[in-house]
Symmetry: C2
Subunit: 381 residues, 2 copies
């Protein structure tokens, strides 16, 4: 190619890129305009007491944009992805707009440990919704009576080991009608301790997310109402109004399921990560030759070890039942050694098929979900 | 609220929603316009032989849109997410535009097993790039000489167990200068078999993705060039031109790392999934009370079992070294039982910290990546 041709070509590519930049600027301007209209919608919904999340409207909006995309020769999946992201942002904007009123206006909230990581979140939710909210910290027991006066809800945002002691110490200061509620990741013992300490309504809550989670939107909270459930119902309604998914359970069922969902999962990950570190694996080289899915799986392992060892030891070793479950896991793992023998292949395949059957339709769903995420991962990192 | 007030309110909400719909239509129109300009860029790049992926231009584009978002009071993360998605789509459009010329125009490609799942992909890539491409299937050996005539690249897209036999059977028909290449997930044995069968250039390839992956964009391919590497270089260049990340290795290093990346990982997942199915876990209830991160992790397990048991048994049990590695994993897992004793907590915490140190900065990165994905998961499902 002659130098002049190259110049002409570069000029023209520059021209096309300038076109793209113009379009991109216009896109951001439209997003900003949309944001302003959504702000007015939020204002409106707040005044009328309408809910933020309107699933039918969202699905309708997205399906019409998909149709438009198809007609314009655009990939409808691209347009759907873009609008899901935009719609989510608009939900967050609207939820932020929902500062008042809470579902039980004027209720007084006391958060014990309200300056800890999770406590700070709880204080943020309730005070943003207009509830008069007090904080009681470890060194403030002298002011407990004053802070607890007239409380309608007392949230114990304290380490699980401290729950019983804090419940006992706080209870004498609470009005009898006050709901006492904890946030610990076990429910049998903490709920029992609260029932013993406080004669009024008792509610166990387990938020299935950490304090770094920004929005309650679609996050799961397991609730185990224990005494006078009708009097703690407004707390659950309030969580739902903030976008959380409230799943009701009993303390016993909760603790059993969490043995698997938390203890066993973390322990299996711990065992795997520990082996990697001991097997002399070259982590960097491994990541280099890894497909996105392995990167993601290894990321799940790395994620565990980036967190607080004490907290995770507590979760794994919480109760004798949990330790028994983990021991059984190790026993059954040892049992798979026979699949590694020369003649183990057929049995491994049979066992693989049996487990696949147990997973049922979840397997295909998992493929769909994880394929979607891998695409996101490739896109971003 | 009086009925009339409600009517007025509804009317006004309808009006705001109509505003949003107008903006959304305009957004899709702009996306369609952008798509057309990107098509012209692709055309242009193709004529000039310029690469599709221009990382600096992409990062610059996104950082300018972030700045614009900030100035307009919009969340820059929202704008970045939207543009990452758009830019990826535009890369795919450009890559599709790259039908010709391949980096070595006119080279003749023969794909053995070219109607299998992976073979079909390979045929698709090469023929779309304008390479004359032939397929040789199991029942077509009578026509092997004719199909192999003048071939510059012979790709063995056959099950790993068949590689040696197919290489031996094909070799006599190939020109001596033809590159023989396989796609198996092990490299030592297949590469040795190809070296023995064919006196010309030999190249081991291991695409780190399955046949369902749509685009080569950012996908990893491990390459182990074995004989006359300079003569198979164009194949690797071609893969890079299609957007793949080519990582060079030796057959020995490859097989060792894959022992961990594939065999160990799948086996650990197998052991975990098997235990869930045997422990009487209620899968549906478990999913109901699960945080998005557990759903994601459980999805990784379900994903394994939704795939072909024979293929995964082959990967796990491929070589005596692999079986030894998996046995060692089980032994070290059994060893963690002592952390479950009454006095095991301190040692578990020490061990947790030691592994965290081994993971080093990858842990924080994993938190960032997985938090991003959880957000995507919450958004979509």
């Amino acid at each position: 190619m002659a130098p002049n041709d190259r110049d002409a070509a570069e000029e023209s590519l520059d021209h096309l890129r300038a076109e793209i930049d113009r379009i991109d600027r216009a896109l951001v301007e439209l997003l900003a305009e949309r944001r302003r209209v959504v702000g007015r919608v939020a204002e409106h919904k707040r005044r009328q007491g309408l809910p933020v999340y309107h699933p039918a409207r969202e699905e309708d909006l997205i399906s019409r944009r998909r149709d438009q995309a198809r007609a314009a020769g655009l990939d409808p999946d691209l347009v759907e992805d873009v609008f899901r992201r935009i719609v989510r942002a608009s939900r967050v904007v609207q939820a932020k707009g929902f500062r008042a009123p809470g579902v039980r206006q004027g209720a007084r909230v006391l958060v014990v440990g309200g300056r800890g990581a999770m406590g700070t979140r709880v204080v943020g939710w309730f005070s943003a919704a207009g509830y008069p909210t007090e904080v009681l910290e470890r060194d403030e027991w002298a002011r407990a009576a004053q802070k607890a006066r007239g409380a309608d809800l007392a949230v114990l945002a304290v380490p699980i080991r401290a729950t019983a002691e804090v419940a006992a110490r706080l209870a004498p200061h609470l009005p009898e009608g006050c709901v006492m509620c904890d946030l610990a990741s076990l429910k049998v013992d903490p709920v029992r301790a609260m029932l013993e300490a406080h004669p009024g309504p008792v509610l166990g809550l387990h938020p299935m997310f950490g304090p770094t989670t920004q929005s309650l939107d679609k996050q799961v909270v397991v609730a185990t109402p224990a005494r006078f459930p009708e009097r703690s119902e407004w707390v659950l309604e309030q969580l739902s109004a903030w976008g959380a998914v409230v799943v009701r359970s009993t303390p016993e069922e909760h603790d059993e399921i969490m043995g698997v969902v938390q203890a066993l999962r973390h322990f299996a990950t711990f065992v795997f990560g520990r082996f990697l570190s001991r097997a002399g694996v070259d982590l960097d080289r491994t990541l280099e030759v890894s497909s996105p899915i392995y990167r993601l799986e290894l990321g799940m392992v790395g994620r565990l070890f980036a967190q607080d060892p004490e907290l995770y030891a507590d979760i794994m070793l919480a109760t004798p039942e949990r330790r028994r479950l983990l021991r059984r896991f190790l026993d059954e793992a040892a049992d798979t050694a026979r699949f590694l023998n020369e003649d183990g292949r057929e049995e491994l395949i049979r066992e693989f098929r049996r487990v696949a059957e147990w997973f049922g339709p979840f397997g295909d769903q998992a493929i769909r979900e994880s394929s979607y995420l891998i695409e996101k991962l490739v896109e971003r990192f």
